[in-house]
Subunit: 366 residues, 2 copies
């Protein structure tokens, strides 16, 4: 069931991962270029299905940490995530058997592929968010009892830092965030080192192959002059996500965005083409809530995705601009992300939103 991922699939993968990134997770094109270069030098990457990973294997997820608004100016490097992996291996006194993404996103789905290409390690087709989230503890790994500590961080001048806060992942997030800011707003991390059996119990499975399928669906629909948004809806059906709803079509009329405490925070306003209806999307790096004319239509952890209406290309929060014509869709999060334990960590209340969670497919029945 393992498969090989080569340079020709990176465009589709990056596009699909950016859709699942719900406005965050890093810029899709920079990450793609870094993977392409690593693959050119070292060859394609082996992707393992989670069920193929040995129970006693050591899996080390890697990612970039930082505000996306910073990452598009301070480009992530290819050395840092490998340095973070090596620092964590040194701390653990054991070498990794595989790497893995911690979240879906144009950037953070790519980082493990860089590491995989450069080290020869396989990458596991799974992650710890099933989308992108702004904070380290917002991972299914954490929800289901794993600890992010020890966490290794690497900066672009060869700096490394290994944090160990025991079971206190919120404290870890705070300390690591401070060092990220000190390293210029972005750094590579390796964390949540786990066994194969823990991986199978806690990860959101097959999100790399889902991203690839979503990205491919958009490209093929475009080539065949079909509606890319409808094609996405078809691609989601039959996966553990299952449901896609078109929340709104219109244009960007206002974006309020500030970089605060290492996050890109704010809200975006959209107006329907006939001017009669409005959509508000709130974000903290990632989209958290969508309200149409003041009524909640999609709430975190369900995915709010902003797409160019004609092409289906995802738009990250830092790329939102006045006048863009968009379709905003809601995608149901899989069951593992909607349990009471999961909602306590990354549901609406965890972000200070005053709305109780309701599944998007129940707010908007077909």
């Amino acid at each position: 069931m393992s498969w090989t991922l080569g340079p020709s699939e990176l465009d589709d993968l990056a596009r699909g991962a950016a859709i699942l990134g719900t406005g965050g997770g890093g810029d899709p094109w920079i990450g793609r270029l870094l993977v392409a270069e690593a693959m050119r030098e070292h060859g394609p990457v082996t992707v393992l299905d989670p069920e193929e990973v040995a129970d006693d294997a050591l899996v080390v997820p890697v990612a970039n940490m930082g505000a996306p608004t910073v990452m598009i100016e301070k480009l992530p490097g290819a050395d840092e995530p490998v340095a973070a992996l090596r620092a964590l291996e040194r701390f653990l006194g054991r070498e990794a058997d595989a790497t893995m993404p911690i979240e879906c996103g144009g950037g953070n789905s790519m980082i493990p592929l860089i590491v995989a290409a450069r080290t020869g390690l396989p990458v596991v087709d799974a992650d710890g968010m099933g989308r992108a989230f702004p904070e380290l503890q917002m991972e299914t790994f954490h929800v289901y009892g794993l600890t992010a500590s020890p966490l290794a961080m690497a900066g672009d001048h060869g700096e490394t830092c290994v944090f160990d806060t025991g079971r206190d992942t919120v404290r870890l997030e705070d300390l690591a965030r401070r060092v990220t800011v000190g390293l210029g707003g972005g750094a590579a991390i390796a964390e949540f080192a786990m066994s194969g059996s823990d991986l199978k119990r806690t990860a959101v499975p097959r999100t790399l192959s889902l991203a690839l399928a979503l990205g491919r669906a958009v490209r093929e629909a475009r080539a065949e002059h079909r509606d890319p948004v409808a094609a996405l809806g078809e691609a989601v059906k039959g996966t553990i996500y299952g449901h896609l709803r078109v929340l709104f079509r219109g244009k960007v009329t206002d974006v309020e965005r500030r970089t605060e405490g290492g996050f890109a925070q704010g809200r975006a306003a959209f107006t329907s083409m006939d001017g009669t209806s409005g959509l508000e999307v709130r974000f903290q790096n990632e989209h958290l809530a969508a309200l149409v004319d003041g009524e909640v239509v999609c709430l975190v952890p369900d995915l709010v995705c902003v797409l160019e209406v004609d092409t289906g290309e995802p738009i990250t929060t830092e790329a939102l601009r006045y006048g863009q014509r968009v379709a905003v869709v809601g995608i149901a999060a899989p069951a593992i992300m909607r349990t009471p334990e999961a909602l306590a960590v990354f549901g609406p209340q965890a972000f200070g939103l005053p709305f109780p969670f309701r599944p998007v497919e129940r707010i908007l029945p077909v």
Copy 2:
């Protein structure tokens, strides 16, 4: 030449170390209590003269890092510096043969004694500042080519963090300071792990025994109704410090103090008892400059020490209060702290002061 330090000497040592701490280096009484408790439980501590340390021995200095204004409310613990030492040993893959202070100060001269008592390691009679300074790179270890990295930090909930910034000690200071703030404003560190031969080349020697001698001189003068300030002058003679000058006698009339970026920053104003003359002392955790009626009389790295005029007890910057009657003295820094390399790192310009360094004994010839 090694000697044993027991609980009965701690009062003198803490007093003398606080004098050398030039207003910073931590509160002398909290540190003393922690050492006394550790000695009560584990016995006295062996102090090694630097010349006794084997060239290939591993010496690991330990300290607390943080704003003294925070440390008097968030008391340092006895577990953290041992945890920092152990984290650094783990990173290095080697056990320490001795510990050492990184600076003189009521707090930071005590931390290695806690570690020594609890681990059974000897402590070396030397340090890396010959006084106290606010930033990590302001150490003779750094001036003479050693690297502070790797640095291990430990917080009061068992958190550890190991930083490695290679030769960039200024970057290390910045990252470690950020984490210190995240840990509540204070944390224990182990850094500048070095060989015995590097220790002999770069450390300011015999500052523990000097602190003990200064503290004893003040106590004995007081018991014998002699002037404690004059007794201090006698005690400094014949050491590598050599010169003490009385800069001012008067009372505290104003203190401007703010905790900013993890530092206690500000200035204190003093007025002579007859009201005709004024002294200004500028500080960043430690005293940096003394100006009498606008004229510089003592400049960093020379030591500006504020003492209660009647008792000779040192007053830290956070303990300065309106109306206190004080003697302010200047003590010449030893030659190893006045080289061009040393002044580039912790001379007046390094603190943004617009005064060129001049030795206190030349500004104020006897």
